[in-house]
């Protein structure tokens, strides 16, 4: 359904540029958890909440020429940059939509690392647990990341800030 494509275009329009697929995945998930009406289905994967639907939808937007993807070879892996194109802006203009304003959340997330956003997304994934259980779960599912108490506290404060 094109409505979901248009919602993502709205995101790219607000974000201006997104660096990294992992970061993109976590940003949309965090926005969903903030109540924004993105409908991509997420599951917990090896590196935290991940949506195959989002991956494919972004590919579709790139194929349609609405989003420009730039691939950068980082020797051991590739990194991707996304920007909205003129055709994308035109599509968005035609597809009138009523979306809540999420620019402040996007702005706050853009300045954060993908590692930090992965922590935030993971904490939000287990937000049904108590604070202690939530922290224990983060360490259980992500033992290799070795998140420090400071990072967890910062993520907690960040989540509180997003809710305001």
């Amino acid at each position: 359904m094109l409505t979901n494509h248009a919602k993502l275009m709205q995101f790219f329009s607000v974000a201006n540029e997104v660096t990294g697929r992992k970061k993109l995945q976590k940003m949309i998930y965090i926005l969903q958890k903030c109540g924004m009406p993105f409908e991509e289905k997420y599951e917990f994967h090896f590196y935290g909440p991940y949506s195959e639907e989002l991956t494919l939808r972004v590919e579709e937007l790139c194929n349609l020429g609405f989003i420009h993807e730039e691939k950068e070879d980082k020797i051991n892996y590739y990194q991707y940059h996304y920007t909205i194109t003129n055709d994308g802006e035109e599509f968005l203009h035609q597809f009138a939509m009523d979306m809540p304003d999420f620019s402040s959340q996007v702005e706050a997330m853009k300045g954060k690392s993908s590692r930090f956003l992965e922590l935030v997304a993971t904490m939000l994934y287990f937000d049904g647990l108590s604070t202690e259980e939530n922290i224990a779960k983060v360490h259980t599912v992500k033992p290799k990341q070795k998140y420090t108490n400071e990072e967890i506290q910062a993520a907690h404060a960040f989540i509180e800030g997003l809710k305001q």
Binding site: M1, L2, K22, F46, E59, C62, N76
Partner: protein, 439 residues
């Protein structure tokens, strides 16, 4: 003897068209298969509406679940004694494999989209709630049900265990590719599973493939790619799926309309309409019940609901054309207006369906730490991502192929009375390429 160690006096076998035999020796597994929540999977087809296109695709989630269990059983038999493998996790792996799809409902993709449900949530509810399955698992050990649930939810502490059930080369995919190939009758999905099982190696937090098995894995990736485009993304199946989603949507809209009364109260759907689906309501709904309602709703006063149900039941599907939202957005909006002028509700009868609306994924290595790729274990002990080593896999995973189609009922267009409107609709549709029959 503790329940978790209890063995059947004699090994039981299920004859299986894909794996020849499914072997069961553990009492726990035998009891889980007999549980009503697991037996319910017999009444839910593995491929939903695909049997409308491939008439043989009548196999159930029950068949598939037994198949995944059998593959995991064979993998961990091979793992015994290898480094990184903890044999204490054996029963946990078998239970998670058997139960991984327990929360699927009838036509679950459409139900999930329309009613905002998540089958994984219901899998957890069945495993952790007041069910026979939960009672069996908790008899194994206190907290065992939670462990099984965590493995299926991919949040269990031991990632190696999780990756057996859920990774880019897991027992789930290896079973459904072969099983769907067998039952649809296509020839694309074959690969040498025995070879792959022989070259799988347990590592600290994932299953990897010994480098000598790369070509067998290439075959598996190729099978996956072909099955997506030839079976899972088949445009005719998608036409049926579009109509199914619209039926559910229409029924919900009518329920919310206080001026509309169903001829027979749709009891089984009420909690889905209100958004408060209790586990017991969810478990009662199977494909037999859904088909029953679709038969009944053909007699409803509402023209849209009765028409859509008649189409779905009698396979009178929507036609389709290729659609490019970038180049054809204006035409699509004009069609929308023309349909309204002609009295055909475009919300139900003019539908864009995209490949991202379907619940299947391709192999993608992804960005670093985006998702876990398939790793080859090289002779020097290093791990190499598959597409960095295999040109065949690189060529497939690098190719981004997506697909959008526009679905519509040609018979209603042919009946449009206003000749100007009808002519313009036909012009637009024929100008966008060949109109294809979803037959």
């Amino acid at each position: 003897m503790a329940y978790k160690d209890e063995q059947l006096h004699e090994e039981k076998v299920f004859k299986d068209p894909v794996h020849r035999y499914v072997h069961v020796k553990d009492r726990v597994i035998w009891d889980l298969i007999a549980a009503p929540e697991f037996q319910r999977l017999r009444r839910i087809k593995q491929l939903g509406t695909t049997n409308i296109t491939f008439h043989g695709a009548e196999h159930s989630r029950f068949n598939h679940s037994l198949g995944v269990y059998e593959i995991v059983r064979r993998i961990i038999t091979n793992f015994e004694g290898r480094p990184h493998w903890n044999s204490e996790e054996r029963l946990l792996c078998l239970c998670a494999a058997l139960l991984h799809d327990l929360g699927h409902g009838p036509f679950s993709h459409s139900f999930e989209k329309v009613f905002k449900l998540d089958h994984e949530y219901f899998t957890q509810q069945i495993i952790l709630g007041d069910t026979k399955v939960n009672a069996i698992l908790e008899r194994v050990a206190k907290g065992f049900a939670q462990d099984v649930s965590d493995v299926i939810a991919k949040t269990y502490k031991d990632k190696l265990v999780v990756s057996l059930i859920s990774s880019q080369i897991d027992a789930d995919r290896m079973d459904y590719l072969q099983r769907d190939t067998y039952f649809t009758g296509v020839s694309y999905g074959h690969f040498d599973m025995e070879r792959i099982l022989r070259v799988m190696r347990p590592m600290e937090d994932q299953v990897v493939i010994k480098y000598t098995g790369m070509h067998a894995v290439e075959d598996y990736i190729m099978s996956r790619y072909q099955m997506y485009w030839q079976v899972y993304f088949h445009p005719v199946t998608r036409s049926a799926e579009v109509i199914l989603s619209k039926i559910l949507h229409r029924a919900k809209v009518l329920y919310e309309d206080s001026n509309y009364t169903f001829k027979l109260e749709p009891t089984h759907f009420l909690s889905f309409f209100t958004g408060h689906v209790k586990l017991q309501d969810y478990l009662k709904l199977d494909e037999g019940i859904v088909s029953y309602y679709f038969q009944l709703w053909q007699e409803e006063e509402d023209d849209i609901l009765s028409d859509l149900c008649e189409r779905f039941t009698n396979r009178r599907l929507f036609k389709y054309i290729e659609f490019n939202p970038n180049l054809q957005m204006n035409e699509w909006m004009e069609l929308h207006r023309l349909f309204m002028n002609a009295g055909i509700d475009p919300d139900y009868y003019l539908v864009v369906d995209s490949s991202s609306d379907l619940p299947y994924d391709f192999y993608r290595p992804g960005e670093e730490e985006e998702r876990l790729p398939i790793h080859l274990l090289m002779p020097n002990g290093e791990l190499r991502e598959l597409s960095r080593q295999s040109e065949i896999v690189e060529s497939i995973s690098g190719k981004k192929r997506t697909d959008h189609k526009l679905y519509f009922p040609i018979d209603l267009i042919e009946k449009i009375e206003d000749s100007t409107v009808k002519k313009r609709v036909e012009e637009i549709l024929s100008g966008q390429g060949e109109v294809k029959n979803a037959n």
